[in-house]
Structures are given as structure tokens and as C-alpha cells.
Symmetry: C2
Subunit: 171 residues, 2 copies
DNA sequence: CTCCTACCTGCGAATCATTCGCAAGTAGGT
DNA sequence: ACCTACTTGCGAATGATTCGCAGGTAGGAG
């Protein structure tokens, strides 16, 4: 599904200006990928963007689509649903609970809150179907990352090249 | 990190009774996997459970660990962080928003809510670090799935063997 | 407008997490 | 003790991403 032309334009402008500001080259493939994504009303996978594009530009590679999407993610212009490509984590806590997620290292910690368990669901959400529960994700920077903040950070998940011991504690 | 022995026991009982009730065989490897998971205070990956187990049971296979973890997931005794193993979805919506997630087909729809944007974060969550935002995931069954409900459902994500057209609309 | 060079792209090969296909093993009811 | 359907352990598939490089090409300098 696609969104209106006006909104698409708005997104395109926001994206291209941010990308230029970041000092990255504006190639045709990138612009087309931006456009495809900007016009999307849902949450396409890289493959979906690639296929939609393939009609217009038979030469783009899936790889370039991935690289461009991650570029936008790094610039904060798009987000991903759920954690990025990693192994699945299992949560054994039986009680109803919510999560604190560190935007820097990916750490996930549980916490309980009767208040959040009983959230009032707005009509804008209820209209999609039958609601069974609400789950809150509190996003921020964990104390661990806050302490050792000295790097300029920025990159997606800031993954260190090799062997670093402290990254990605999805715990 | 591990949780207390008392809580671990409580989880073990809950798991074994539910598993027996489901008519599944209780093998040694399953019991050990249950124990490992039940004692965990965080969100281990299958690989992590496998490695922790490997010391005690050098013969368990990673495959069995996966099968057992998914078995528990299907029984609702553990949950996964984020969607299960699939391709990453990109969300191009720039405005602050939340998600309605269909537990049946995985469909994800956006919605806005000023009220949910400004959620009060409980101290139990704030103590983990600096809070930057809250994101609410409303879980339920989308109208599409509610309509075509006639199958017994049950299995994780209810993925139809082959070619079904309507599954997994992560849109 | 042309030239240069750092940044990009396309591809095929490489990774990684996860799952399959099967032969051999074993809970647990009888 | 005995059956048998449900389980395991492997090694070989899969699928999604990413890498390594040999060309290409934006776009600032001249």
C-alpha cells in the first residue's frame, strides 16, 4: 500500500536533505530506493523494496537495497521492526511484564508495572481488531552505556569490528 | 545471570506440568533445557542455552535446543523478543507512533496517540538508565484473522505448509 | 566543462542462524 | 518386558544478510 503523493514528497525532502547533510553521495539507485520506501504505508522488507524497484530499475542489486536501508537506519530516518538481524532471544519470565531497551547496546531488561499492564487502548489502535494485551517498550540508554560513553557512537548498534566483549547484551 | 532457586523451581513446575498436559514426552534433554531456561534471569538465545548446557550434557544438539524452545513457545510458556526468524522490516513513518501487532498473522499496523507518547515511566523501569521514549505494542487479533477464524490454529504463527497467500503480512 | 578521487554499485562467494531428512534411540502406556 | 509413536543427533539444506573486489560515477577542484 502507498501513502499520498504529498506525504511521500515530504518524506523524500526530509530524507534527501538529511542524507546530503551527512555528506553521502546521491546516486540514482539511492534516490529510487528512497522514493520506494518513502511512498510505503507499511513496513517493507529489503526484498520487497528490491522487487518493487526491479520493474523500474532492473539493474539494482539486492545488496545495494540493503546497504541503503541500513544507511537510512543509521541516520535515524527509518526504523526497524524489532531488533535487527540477530538470533532470536527467549524470554522465560512468566509474569506479565514490560521491557527497557538500550538503544546503544541492545540490552533488554524486564520490569513489572500494574499501571502499564492496564493501559487504555486508543480507538486509533482498537479499530484494527480485537485487543488482547499491551506491551510497553521503554527506550533509552542503559547505565552501562551511559558510563562508558566517550566514543562518538552513531553507527547502528555501534558494533565494534572484532572481539569486543561488551556488545549486544540482549540479556 | 540466574534467578533464585525458589523461583526457578516454580517455573520448572509450571513448565513440566503444562508440557505433560500437552501430551509430550519428558526426555532428559528437554528437562535440562527447561531447567537452564527456567533459571535464566535474562533472554538467552538458543545458542546460549546450548552452550550453558554443553558442559553438563556434551551430547545435546543445538537442534534439540531449538526444537525444545519453540515447543515451549508454542505452549505459551516462554515468549520471544521481537518477531521470530524472518527478514527485517523497515518502518519509514517519521512521526512518533505505536504498533498494533496481530498475534495470529504477524501483521503490524501503525497508529498515533499523544496519550501513549507521554506515558509515565515507572521507577522500576527508569532505574535501568536514561529514558528517551516509550513505544507501545498493542497485541491482539486483526480483523482479517478474526474473520477467517475457523481453523483450530494454535501453532506458532500458524504457518501454513506451502503457498498460502495470506500469511505473515508484516505490513 | 573536464578531471580526479573517494565513495558506490553489482555480483558471486561467504556467513550465520535456523531447519530438514532420516536412521537410531527411548519414554511410557499395556 | 514390549511396542511404537514421539524424539534425538547429525550433516546437509535454506534463507537472509553481508563481504570482497573490480569497475563506475557523483561532485568538488581547477
Amino acid at each position: 500500500m502507498k501513502i499520498g503523493a504529498r506525504e511521500t514528497e515530504r518524506r523524500m525532502e526530509r530524507i534527501t536533505s538529511a542524507v546530503k547533510a551527512a555528506g553521502v553521495k546521491l546516486t540514482i539507485q539511492r534516490l529510487e530506493i528512497f522514493r520506494e520506501l518513502a511512498a510505503s504505508a507499511d513496513h517493507p522488507s529489503a526484498e520487497a523494496v528490491f522487487e518493487a524497484l526491479h520493474a523500474r530499475m532492473p539493474t539494482v542489486s539486492l545488496d545495494t537495497v540493503y546497504r541503503t536501508l541500513w544507511l537510512l537506519t543509521d541516520l535515524g530516518l527509518v526504523h526497524t521492526l524489532g531488533p535487527r538481524h540477530e538470533s532470536v532471544r527467549f524470554d522465560p519470565k512468566l509474569e506479565r511484564h514490560h521491557h527497557f531497551v538500550c538503544l546503544r547496546c541492545g540490552l533488554v531488561r524486564d520490569f513489572e508495572s500494574a499501571e502499564l499492564d492496564a493501559l487504555r487502548v486508543p480507538a486509533s489502535a482498537a479499530r484494527f481488531g480485537r485487543v488482547e494485551a499491551t506491551h510497553v517498550e521503554v527506550r533509552g540508554v542503559c547505565s552501562g552505556c551511559a558510563r562508558k560513553q566517550g566514543r562518538k557512537s552513531g553507527g547502528r548498534n555501534d558494533k565494534e569490528p572484532k572481539g569486543g566483549k561488551g556488545s549486544n547484551e540482549h540479556e
